[in-house]
C-alpha cells in the first residue's frame, strides 16, 4: 500500500562497481605490492611456527602459561590443549592458522594503534571514524571478501585482508577510549611542565592507557581467530578449511575436531594476550 516510490533511486551500486573496475585497472601494481608485503609476513610467521617441532612448542606454551599468566595450572592446561590438537592430527594446520592470525594481528596493530591515537586526539577524526568502524564490524564479511579476491586473487592475502578489516576495530576503539580516559590531571601536569605533544603521548597517555589498549589487542586477536573459517573459503590453508571440508562431506566428528582445535587455540591466545592487559 505504502511502497517506497520506485522512481527515487540513487545509483550507488553502479557507482561502486565503476570505482572497483577503475581501481582494478589503474592500481593493479599497487595491490600487487601490498599483497606481496602481506604475504612475506605470513610466510615468515609460517616458516617460524612450522620450524619449531611439536616437542619444543608444547613445553614453550606451558612455560608461557606459567610465566605470563602466573599459574602453573594454566601452563599444564596449555600443554594439554596443544597435545590434544596434535592427537586430532591437526598440528601443522593449527600452526598455519596461528601464523595467519598472528600476521593479521600484527598488521591490525600496525594500523589500529596509530589510528586510535589520532582518533583520541581529534574529536573530528573520532566523529568520522566511528561510523566507519561500525560498518567494518557489522558489514557481512562476504561483501568485502569478494572485492578482496578481485584485488589479491585466491589464497592467504585476501583472507588476511578480510581478517584485518574485521579485527582492527576493537584495537582502534579501545586505544581511543584508553587515551581519552587517561587521568586528565596527569596529562595537564605533563603539559604544564612544557612537554611536547609527543612527550605527553609517550610519557603519559600511552603508558596510562596501556591496560585498555591491551584489552583491545586481546579482542582483536580473538576476532582474527574467529575469522579464519571464513578466510579459508577463499583458499587460506588452515583449520578453517578443514571445518569447511568436513561440513561439505557431512563428517560431523571431523568437523568437531577441527572446530575444537580452533577453540583450543583461542583459549591459549586469549589467556596470553589478556595477561598483558592485567599487568601494570
Amino acid at each position: 500500500m505504502f511502497e517506497f516510490p520506485e522512481v527515487v533511486t540513487i545509483p550507488l551500486a553502479k557507482g561502486i562497481d565503476f570505482i572497483m573496475s577503475w581501481l582494478l585497472i589503474h592500481l593493479d601494481g599497487f595491490f600487487d605490492a601490498i599483497g606481496f608485503i602481506i604475504l612475506q609476513v605470513v610466510v615468515g610467521f609460517e616458516a617460524l611456527f612450522l620450524f619449531i617441532p611439536w616437542f619444543v612448542m608444547i613445553p614453550l606454551a606451558g612455560l608461557a602459561g606459567w610465566k605470563l599468566v602466573g599459574k602453573w595450572k594454566t601452563g599444564v592446561l596449555f600443554m594439554l590443549l596443544l597435545f590434544l590438537i596434535g592427537t586430532f592430527g591437526y598440528w601443522e594446520l593449527s600452526m598455519r592458522t596461528l601464523s595467519l592470525v598472528i600476521a593479521s594481528v600484527f598488521f591490525s596493530l600496525l594500523i589500529g594503534i596509530p589510528t586510535g591515537i589520532n582518533m583520541a586526539r581529534s574529536d573530528r577524526t573520532e566523529a568520522i571514524l566511528k561510523p566507519i568502524l561500525d560498518g567494518m564490524q557489522t558489514m557481512p564479511s562476504f561483501v568485502y571478501l569478494i572485492p578482496a579476491l578481485m584485488f589479491f586473487g585466491m589464497g592467504k592475502v585476501p583472507a588476511m585482508f578480510a581478517t584485518i578489516i574485521y579485527a582492527v576495530p576493537p584495537v582502534i576503539r579501545l586505544t581511543n577510549v584508553g587515551i581519552r580516559t587517561v587521568d586528565k590531571e596527569a596529562v595537564e601536569a605533563s603539559k604544564a611542565f612544557g612537554a611536547t605533544s609527543r612527550q605527553v603521548l609517550f610519557d603519559v597517555q600511552l603508558p596510562l592507557a596501556k591496560p585498555t589498549i591491551m584489552v583491545g589487542i586481546n579482542q582483536t586477536t580473538m576476532m582474527a581467530l574467529a575469522m579464519v573459517v571464513i578466510g579459508s573459503m577463499i583458499g587460506a590453508k588452515g583449520l578453517g578449511m578443514e571445518v569447511l571440508l568436513a561440513i561439505n562431506r557431512i563428517e560431523v566428528g571431523k568437523g568437531f575436531e577441527a572446530g575444537l582445535s580452533i577453540v583450543f587455540l583461542a583459549i591459549i591466545v586469549d589467556r596470553i594476550t589478556f595477561s598483558f592487559s592485567e599487568k601494570k
Binding site: 587521568d183 601536569a189 611542565f193 612537554a195
Partner: protein, 419 residues
C-alpha cells in the same frame, strides 16, 4: 613565621602597583563554545551569564579579569565551584587558551606566544601542583619528582640529584623507589610539590592542592608551605574554595564569582570590608581574630614619656592625665618600658636626687609587631593589665592596642545587618 611581611595592612595594596607586578592580566575573557569570539561583541558583552548561554550557547568561563600579581606574593584565587578559579589558573599557563585579553608575565606576553615559545616558557617559569596530584602511576616517586626536568631534556644523573634534593625538602627522603599508588594522599601531594619545585620555577601554580586531604594533614601541609615560602619567596598562585585556607596562607585574595573578580584584598580587608553580599556571605564564618592585625587597630598612646624626663615631670604628667602608668621611649622613639606611678613616687622619696628615670625602675612589658594577628594577642592581654604596645622591627614605638579595642574589632557587625 612571618607570612604577612609583605602586606602590612592596607597601605601596600594600592601603592606601587605597576612598578613591581610580575603578572599583569588585562581584560581577560574565556568563553567556551562555538564561535566564542562573537560573545565579546557589543550585542552580548554586557549580558549576564545565563542570558548569554541561552542566546548563543556559549558558556562564560571568565569575564573581564584584571589582576596584578607581585613578585614573591602569595596570591589566592578563591570562589565556589564554577566561579572560574580553576579556569583562570589554567589560562595563566595556557592549558586553556584565553578568548581575548592579555596575560603578561615578566614582561612577556603569554597570549601572543607560538607553540614553541610557550613550551619553553612553561619549562622555565612554572611549576604546577594539582588537586588530584596528577602523578604518573607507572613511575617511581623519584622519577615523578624528576619529570619536569626530564621534559627539559636534563640528563638522568643531574635530574636525579636535583629530584632527591627536593624530595628531601618536602620530607620524602627514603621514599624515592616507591610508586605513588602505595603512598597516602598527603605524601602523594608532597611528590606533586617536589615535582613542581624541582624545576626551580619562578611561579608556583597550585590548583586546590590540599582540598583532597583530611583536615589534620591539610593543616600540616599548609604550615609547611608557609615555612617553605618564607625561605623560597616565590610567587605563588593558589586556588582554593576554603576561606580559612585562603586567610591563613594568602598575602592577597581575589574572590571570583561567575567568572568575574568581585573583590581583591588582603585577608583583613576581605573579612572586615566585604564589598557585597556575596563576599559577606563568604566570610561570615571567618574569625576576624585570625586576620585583623595589631597594626590596623592600634591607636597612638595617650601619653608618652621620654627617657630624659625626670621622675618629677613624669609623675606630674601622669597625675594630670589621671593615669597610673605610661610608656617610656628613648630619643629615637624606641620603647624602653613602662613607668608606674608607685615606682616614680619611690624614686622621688629617695634621699638622693634622681635626674633621670633609671632603667631598673621600668617595668618591661610584652610587645607585638604590627603584623601580629589579634588571636596571638589574647594570651598577652589576659596576663597583662596595660595596653599592649606595638613596635616595629627596630623596637620603635608605634602605638597601643587595648583589650577593649580587640574585643570591639572581633565582635561581628550586629545591629543594622540583622534587620
Amino acid at each position: 613565621m612571618s607570612k604577612n611581611k609583605t602586606v602590612n595592612g592596607s597601605e601596600t595594596t594600592h601603592s606601587d602597583i605597576n612598578t613591581n607586578s610580575q603578572i599583569i592580566i588585562k581584560d581577560l575573557w574565556k568563553v567556551f563554545g562555538r564561535d566564542s569570539k562573537r560573545v565579546l561583541g557589543k550585542k552580548y558583552r554586557a549580558l549576564g551569564k545565563e542570558e548569554i548561554q541561552k542566546k548563543t550557547g556559549c558558556v562564560i568561563g571568565l569575564r573581564e579579569i584584571n589582576l596584578e600579581i607581585k613578585k614573591g606574593e602569595f596570591y589566592i584565587l578563591m570562589g565556589l565551584s564554577g566561579s572560574g578559579k580553576s579556569t583562570l589558573i589554567r589560562n595563566l599557563i595556557r592549558l586553556v587558551k584565553p578568548t581575548s585579553g592579555s596575560i603578561v608575565i615578566d614582561e612577556k606576553n603569554l597570549t601572543k606566544m607560538n607553540n614553541e615559545e610557550l613550551l619553553n616558557f612553561r619549562r622555565e617559569t612554572f611549576g604546577m601542583v594539582f588537586q588530584h596530584y596528577g602523578l604518573l602511576p607507572h613511575l617511581t616517586v623519584l622519577d615523578n619528582a624528576a619529570y619536569g626536568l626530564k621534559v627539559r631534556g636534563i640528563s638522568k644523573e643531574d635530574r636525579y640529584i636535583k629530584a632527591k634534593e627536593v624530595l628531601e625538602t618536602v620530607g620524602l627522603k627514603g621514599w624515592e623507589d616507591y610508586y605513588p599508588g602505595s603512598l597516602s594522599g598527603g605524601m602523594q601531594q608532597r611528590v606533586g610539590l617536589a615535582r613542581a619545585l624541582a624545576n626551580d620555577p619562578e611561579i608556583l601554580l597550585m590548583d586546590e592542592p590540599f582540598s583532597g586531604l583530611d583536615p589534620l594533614i591539610k593543616r600540616q601541609m599548609q604550615d609547611e608551605l608557609i615555612e617553605l615560602q618564607d625561605k623560597m619567596q616565590k610567587t605563588i598562585i593558589f586556588v582554593t574554595h576554603d576561606l580559612h585556607e585562603a586567610l591563613k596562607l594568602g598575602d592577597r585574595i581575589a574572590i571570583l564569582r561567575n567568572g568575574k573578580v568581585v573583590q581583591v584584598g588582603t585577608p583583613e580587608e576581605i573579612v572586615t570590608k566585604p564589598v557585597d553580599d556575596y563576599v559577606q556571605e563568604f566570610v561570615r564564618d571567618a574569625s576576624p581574630a585570625k586576620v585583623i592585625t595589631a597594626g590596623t587597630i592600634m591607636e597612638p598612646a595617650k601619653i608618652i614619656l621620654y627617657a630624659w624626663e625626670g621622675p618629677k615631670t613624669a609623675l606630674t604628667l601622669l597625675r594630670k592625665n589621671k593615669r597610673r602608668a605610661a610608656f617610656i621611649v628613648d630619643k629615637s622613639h624606641r620603647l624602653l618600658g613602662v613607668a608606674q606611678e608607685d615606682k616614680l613616687e619611690e624614686l622621688l622619696n629617695k634621699p638622693e636626687k634622681v635626674e633621670k628615670i633609671p632603667e631598673s625602675a621600668l617595668r618591661r612589658v610584652p610587645s607585638v609587631g604590627p603584623d601580629t594577628i589579634l588571636e596571638d594577642m589574647f594570651s598577652i592581654v589576659t596576663e597583662n593589665q596595660y595596653p599592649v604596645p606595638v613596635v616595629d622591627a627596630d623596637n620603635k614605638f608605634l602605638g597601643v592596642v587595648t583589650t577593649d579595642q580587640i574585643f570591639e574589632s572581633i565582635t561581628p557587625m550586629g545591629g543594622e545587618d540583622n534587620v
